[in-house]
């Protein structure tokens, strides 16, 4: 066995273990939360526990996915996806958190909108962005999907203070996953950009874009998929 394959075996089984633990952890949190009164003062703590464990999970997935993409162990798997389903899934992952923080989380899209994309990878992208938006928004996070110029656009808007100026200027790259000044690792956006770029069709490539003061007058994240 080479060193590399030892690392890979350990990586896979470690992730497996960690996910089992996270599953139980998250399920216990749901249990406790349900046992408590909705107004109980501990709900806030539970909510942040839930948020942090979901962040660990997402980071884990991003790390593993990037590793495997780079090693060419996986590739983007295009499937037919009903956008309403994808949005409902992403919302379901965060509804408890949003509810506890008193944030309205909803989506808008045509029931019959279908697109071709990798639902697992795009799912990780959306979950990460939604998680962050819930953290920084005031009162609402809105997902939407539409087609524009033969591309699919999925957009996540909030009514918070918006993305900092230096992030808006990143262009399509988001090439720097670590920003030591802001303390944010930026892994989520870096990951989103990579996944978007890996969606290719008819000589076009996906991309992401950040803007401010669009639909909800806060930050706005958009991912374009050809």
């Amino acid at each position: 066995m080479t060193d590399q394959s030892i690392f890979e075996t350990v990586l896979a089984s470690t992730v497996h273990d960690m996910k089992n633990s996270l599953s139980l952890l998250m399920s216990h949190l749901d249990d406790i939360s349900m046992r408590l009164d909705q107004q109980d003062e501990n709900q806030d703590d539970i909510s942040s526990l839930r948020y942090e464990s979901s962040r660990i999970n997402i980071s884990l997935m991003q790390l593993l996915t990037l590793y495997k993409l780079e090693k060419r162990q996986i590739s983007v798997q295009i499937e037919e996806v009903i956008l309403a389903d994808l949005m409902e899934d992403s919302i379901a992952a965060h509804s408890m958190l949003a509810q506890n923080k008193g944030i309205q989380l909803d989506y808008e899209c045509d029931d019959e909108l279908i697109w071709f994309l990798d639902p697992n990878l795009i799912g990780i992208v959306l979950n990460n962005i939604i998680g962050n938006s819930i953290r920084y928004t005031n009162s609402r996070v809105l997902l939407s999907a539409r087609t524009q110029d033969q591309q699919l656009v999925i957009q996540i808007d909030d009514d918070g203070v918006g993305y900092p100026a230096h992030m808006l200027n990143e262009g399509a790259g988001f090439s720097n996953p670590v920003d030591l000044h802001s303390g944010s690792t930026g892994l989520g956006l870096f990951f989103a950009a990579i996944i978007a770029q890996n969606h290719k069709r008819l000589q076009r490539q996906g991309k992401i874009q950040l803007q401010n003061k669009l639909r909800l007058n806060g930050g706005s994240f958009q991912i374009y998929l050809p």
């Binding site: 996910k19 089992n20 599953s23 399920s27 495997k68 798997q77 409902e88 408890m96 279908i114």
Partner: protein
């Protein structure tokens, strides 16, 4: 949470008790009332044969014993999964589909851990809704009515645009099964023109292959590798085409790549073994068969001759090794041999070849006492009172023993086996005669039954049972005759007779007949 879930019957398969419990709680919260549990593949298969589940949740990683994919394979082999019931594989990774993609069977969906209650509910709601939309198609397929199923595909597509691609997929697969290759090909191609979806792309290549256009199929799959680089089912197809074209060297190479991505498939490993053996790459074959029997020990896809191939290739490899390495390899082999005997303890036909192969192996490396040991085990197995082996097994064993004749082995044992084989041969001939008779008599019985002459029918089935007691068909016919007739079913003696038949039926390898058996069991009055 959502009504559709409340009357679904579900089964949760996980080796981890705490996880099963958690899952059960989640399902209860979603309104599912009926949740059965299994902690391993054996329990799961048994439960699935006894119950019709709407949803089966199976963790991929089940610890000792079968893994999730093997459970799925066995359920398919036994035909206990209806079209429209959902098999959901629970995994820790999002990439399972491409890695585990076995050629044969895929789950309806992968659920990636961890998930919240709401996520699970959302997912199930969607899967069940989709199933409801496709229900008329599934029902026709389950009834075997392909014409109507095809009609339903068109009707559903008209009504529900979001189900269009699911319908197109079902439709093209149905056409393909009916051997309407041109129509199926046109359909796959029209889908690919819209979007290069994996199932349609594979469909095109598979149809080339089925129509004998193997080179075209190979080119197609080779091109697919660029767009789907890690999709193991594409690699499997490339290897299959190369093998069919006689390019075994390339096929071996491709299979080795596929195995790097997905090492656990019994079929893939044994195919590599077979090809490497033909190429006389005994070391590769030996390793491939070692993996086959190791990964497949609990799998229904494992065949007894894989052991024989393993021993044969070990024989070739061991002869080339130094003393220390040879000793190590032989000790591993003996461990494998013990497991083999354990696994096939009720299948003497399988054991005798493998034991003979072991005798040959130890004879080659000059360990004659161990070779004699395995030979006497052959002899012992043949002597056991309920040893029943087939014509084919007999021929093969005879061939193996002929090869051993004249070597330094104990002549006395060989002679004993030969004389035993003469009576085995007689047994086989007698049994074949009996079986032919039983088939004819059973047919007469069926005729009587159709003419409503139940007493005559029952008598015929009894005769068939006497001639071939190990065939459950005749016993099932007799039981059915007794239980479904008002004149018989209140007669205590006949009920006792039916119960005796039922108790003696062994349906280990039966799937479809199991349902009949089950039905009959419930009809039998209690003492």
């Amino acid at each position: 949470m959502f009504d559709r879930l409340s009357d679904t019957r579900t089964l949760v398969i996980d080796d981890f008790g705490q996880f099963r419990q958690t899952f059960k709680t989640m399902l209860h919260r979603l309104g599912v009332q009926q949740v059965d549990q299994a902690s391993n593949g054996n329990e799961a298969v048994k439960l699935c044969m006894e119950n019709d589940y709407d949803m089966i949740f199976c963790d991929y990683n089940l610890g000792e014993g079968q893994d999730g994919q093997q459970v799925l394979e066995e359920l398919h082999q036994r035909s206990v999964l209806q079209k429209g019931s959902l098999f959901l594989m629970v995994t820790a990774e999002t990439t399972s589909a491409q890695v585990m993609g076995a050629i044969e069977y895929r789950p309806d969906a992968y659920l990636t851990k961890p998930f919240t209650n709401e996520q699970l509910g959302q997912r199930l709601k969607r899967l069940l809704n989709k199933n409801d939309v496709l229900k008329t198609i599934h029902d026709s397929i389950n009834k075997g009515d392909v014409t109507n199923a095809l009609k339903q595909c068109d009707a559903v597509m008209q009504k529900s645009p979001t189900a269009r691609f699911s319908c197109l997929r079902l439709k093209s697969e149905l056409l393909e099964k009916q051997k309407a290759y041109d129509e199926a090909m046109a359909l796959y191609k029209s889908v690919v023109q819209e979007q290069p979806l994996l199932w349609a792309m594979i469909g095109i290549g598979r149809l080339y292959f089925k129509q004998g256009l193997v080179e075209k199929a190979l080119t197609h799959f080779q091109q697919m590798r660029e767009d789907f680089p890690q999709q193991v089912s594409v690699l499997d197809w490339v290897a299959k085409c190369q093998q069919a074209l006689g390019d075994l060297e390339q096929s071996e190479k491709t299979l080795k790549e596929a195995i790097q991505i997905s090492p656990k498939s019994v079929t893939r490993q044994s195919t590599l073994g077979e090809i490497a053996q033909t190429l006389e790459h005994h070391d590769i074959a030996q390793q491939a068969y070692a993996k086959t029997i190791q990964e497949g020990y609990h799998s229904c896809l494992l065949q007894p001759q894989y052991y024989q191939h393993y021993f044969k290739n070990t024989q070739a490899v061991a002869a080339t090794l130094g003393e220390r390495d040879q000793k190590k390899m032989l000790s591993t082999t003996e461990t494998v041999a013990k497991r083999m005997e354990q696994k096939y303890k009720n299948n003497p036909g399988a054991i005798v070849h493998n034991l003979a192969a072991l005798a040959s192996l130890f004879n080659t490396v000059g360990n004659n006492s161990q070779a004699d040991h395995y030979l006497s085990r052959v002899s012992g197995t043949l002597d056991s009172p309920d040893c029943r082996i087939s014509q084919q097994d007999f021929q093969q064993l005879k061939h193996q023993l002929d090869e051993l004749d004249g070597t330094a082995l104990n002549d006395k044992i060989l002679q004993k086996i030969s004389s035993r084989l003469v009576s085995v041969k007689n047994d086989i001939e007698q049994r074949q005669q009996n079986e032919q008779q039983a088939v004819a008599i059973n047919r007469e019985g069926m005729q009587f039954a159709r003419q409503n002459q139940q007493l005559e029918a029952l008598e015929k089935f009894r005769q068939a049972i006497t001639l071939a007691p190990y065939h459950s068909n005749y016993a099932l016919n007799a039981i059915q005759t007794i239980l479904l007739n008002d004149a018989f079913k209140n007669d205590p003696a006949l009920i006792r007779e039916a119960r005796d038949y039922l108790d003696n039926i062994s349906l280990e390898n039966s799937g479809k007949r199991w349902r009949l058996y089950k039905k009959l069991t419930t009809l039998l009055p209690n003492d």
